[in-house]
C-alpha cells in the first residue's frame, strides 16, 4: 500500500482534475446555447430561400432545369463534406461521425473524395487513407456566414466543373443536450421537385403564378442556389458545433462525477492507512513500555 503522503498528493490532484472538468462543462454549456441561437437565426433565410426555389421550380412552362438542380444520368465521382470538431475530449462525438462515414462510404460504388471541416475528422480520414482534397479547420467558435461561405463556393465549383456528380454533407444534428445524431444530406444536385415541402408550401400559398424575371430565370437561380447550398453548410456547421459542445459537456460531467467518486475511494483508503500507522505507533510505545517494566 502507498504511503500516506503519496495518497494525500493523489487526492489533491484528482480534486484539481474535477475542478478543471467542471469548469469545462460550464464553458461547453454556454457554447451550446450560443450555437443553437445562431442556428435559429438562420432559419428565417433558409425558409424564405426554399420558398423561392420551390416557387421557381413549379413555374409553368419552365425551360430546362438549372445545372445545379439536374440529376446526372451517370454518377462517376462523389464528393462528401465531413463536419467534425477541431478538438477532442468530446466523448464519442468525432468517432461517431467517422464511423458513420465508414458505414456509408467504405463500400461505395463510385470513387470518392472528401472535404474535411474540422481537424479531428481530417486527421482520422487521412489516417484511413481517404482522398481528402480540402481542409477547412480551425473555424472560429461562433462562425459567421462569411467564415464558411468558401466551403459552399468550392462545393459548387467541384460540381459544376464535373469533378463531382453528387455531393453529400455529413454532420451531427443536435436533437437534445443528451442526444445528437449523425446524418447525411444530399447537397447537390439540389432536389426541389417531388419534395413534400413543395406540397406543403403550395397548400399554404396556392399554385405559383407566372413570374416576371429580372434579368432572367437562369441568372436568378445562379444567385439563389449557390447561396442556399452555402447556407445549408453553414447550418450544418452550427448544428455540429452545438452537438460537439453538448457531447463535451456530458463527457465532462461524467469525468467530474468519476473524479469525485475516486476522491471518496482514495479518502477511505488514506484514512485506513492513517489509522493503521497510529495503531502501529501505539503498539510500539506499549511494547516498549512493557519491555522496560519487565526488565
Amino acid at each position: 500500500m502507498a504511503s500516506a503522503r503519496e495518497m494525500r498528493l493523489r487526492i489533491r490532484s484528482v480534486k484539481n482534475i474535477s475542478q478543471v472538468t467542471r469548469a469545462l462543462e460550464a464553458v461547453s454549456a454556454s457554447k451550446v446555447r450560443k450555437a443553437i441561437a445562431a442556428v435559429t437565426a438562420t432559419r428565417a433565410y433558409a425558409g424564405k430561400a426554399w420558398q423561392v426555389l420551390t416557387h421557381v421550380a413549379k413555374q409553368p412552362g419552365r425551360e430546362s432545369l438549372h445545372p445545379l438542380l439536374t440529376k446526372r444520368p451517370e454518377v462517376k465521382n462523389t464528393l462528401a463534406v465531413i463536419v467534425t470538431g477541431d478538438r477532442g475530449l468530446a466523448g464519442a462525438y468525432n468517432t461517431n461521425v467517422i464511423r458513420f462515414v465508414a458505414r456509408k462510404f467504405d463500400h461505395y460504388e463510385h470513387p470518392l473524395h472528401f472535404i474535411a471541416v474540422g481537424r479531428k475528422g481530417r486527421d482520422l480520414m487521412i489516417r484511413r487513407r481517404k482522398n481528402v482534397v480540402a481542409d477547412f479547420s480551425n473555424l472560429p467558435a461562433a462562425p459567421s456566414f462569411m467564415d464558411v461561405s468558401a466551403i459552399g463556393r468550392m462545393v459548387v465549383e467541384e460540381f459544376l466543373e464535373g469533378r463531382a456528380d453528387e455531393v453529400y454533407l455529413i454532420y451531427t444534428d443536435f436533437i437534445t443536450m443528451s442526444r445528437q445524431e449523425t446524418v447525411v444530406k444530399r447537397l447537390l444536385p439540389l432536389e426541389v421537385d417531388g419534395s413534400d415541402r413543395v406540397e406543403e408550401y403550395e397548400a399554404k400559398a396556392g399554385p405559383a403564378a407566372a413570374y416576371i424575371y429580372e434579368p432572367g430565370e437562369r441568372e436568378i437561380l445562379d444567385e439563389i442556389i449557390p447561396r442556399f447550398t452555402g447556407l445549408q453548410i453553414y447550418q450544418a456547421v452550427l448544428e455540429s458545433q452545438a452537438s460537439e459542445h453538448a457531447a463535451r459537456m456530458i463527457a465532462m460531467r461524467n469525468a467530474t462525477d468519476s473524479a469525485l467518486d475516486l476522491v471518496e475511494q482514495l479518502k477511505l483508503a488514506y484514512n485506513k492507512v492513517r489509522q493503521q500507522t497510529i495503531t502501529n505507533d501505539i503498539l510500539d510505545i506499549v511494547g516498549g513500555a512493557n519491555a522496560l517494566a519487565q526488565s
Binding site: A41, V52, S144
Partner: protein
C-alpha cells in the same frame, strides 16, 4: 392598403412589417413596389432598400441578393443588410482602409482572398455612402431622387 415586406439576411431577420411602398435596387434599375404588384423575381445590386410606412421612411443598405415580389408580400433575401441607423461609421471607415491597404499590397486576382477583400471593400463603401446620403445631419434626402 399595405404590402408585407420581409428583409432577411443569412444570419437574421432584418425587417418585417406592413408598408405602403418598397423601393428596391434591382439589377435592372431601381423599382418601387406597391401593393398588388405582379409576381416578380429580381436580383439586387449593392444599394439601398427604402420602405415607407405611414409617411415614415426606413432605409436599409443591402449588399446584393434576390427579391421575390408577390401581390401581398415582398421578400428580400439579402447577402448582408442593415438599417442605416445601425451603421458604425468609424468601423466602416477602418474596414475600408484595411481593405484598400490589403489590395494595394497585391493579392492574386480571382483568388478567394481577393474576392473576400473586394467584397469587404464594397460593403464598407456602401455603408459610408449610406451614412453620407441618408443619415440625419448629412445631405437631406432630396425628393424625386428615386
Amino acid at each position: 392598403m399595405t404590402i408585407r415586406c420581409e428583409i432577411v439576411s443569412q444570419d437574421r431577420m432584418v425587417f418585417e412589417g406592413d408598408v405602403d411602398i418598397v423601393v428596391l435596387p434591382g439589377s435592372a434599375g431601381e423599382m418601387g413596389i406597391l401593393p398588388h404588384h405582379a409576381p416578380l423575381l429580381t436580383t439586387l445590386k449593392y444599394g439601398f432598400i427604402k420602405v415607407r410606412q405611414q409617411g415614415k421612411e426606413e432605409i436599409f443598405a443591402v449588399a446584393g441578393g434576390v427579391a421575390e415580389v408577390q401581390p401581398q408580400i415582398v421578400t428580400v433575401l439579402a447577402d448582408a443588410a442593415e438599417n442605416i441607423e445601425e451603421i458604425d461609421e468609424a468601423r466602416a471607415e477602418q474596414a475600408r482602409e484595411r481593405a484598400q491597404e490589403m489590395l494595394a499590397k497585391g493579392v492574386p486576382a480571382d483568388s478567394d482572398a481577393y474576392l473576400a477583400i473586394e467584397a469587404a471593400l464594397r460593403r464598407s463603401n456602401l455603408r459610408l455612402d449610406a451614412v453620407k446620403r441618408y443619415r440625419k445631419g448629412g445631405r437631406p434626402n432630396t425628393p424625386g431622387e428615386n
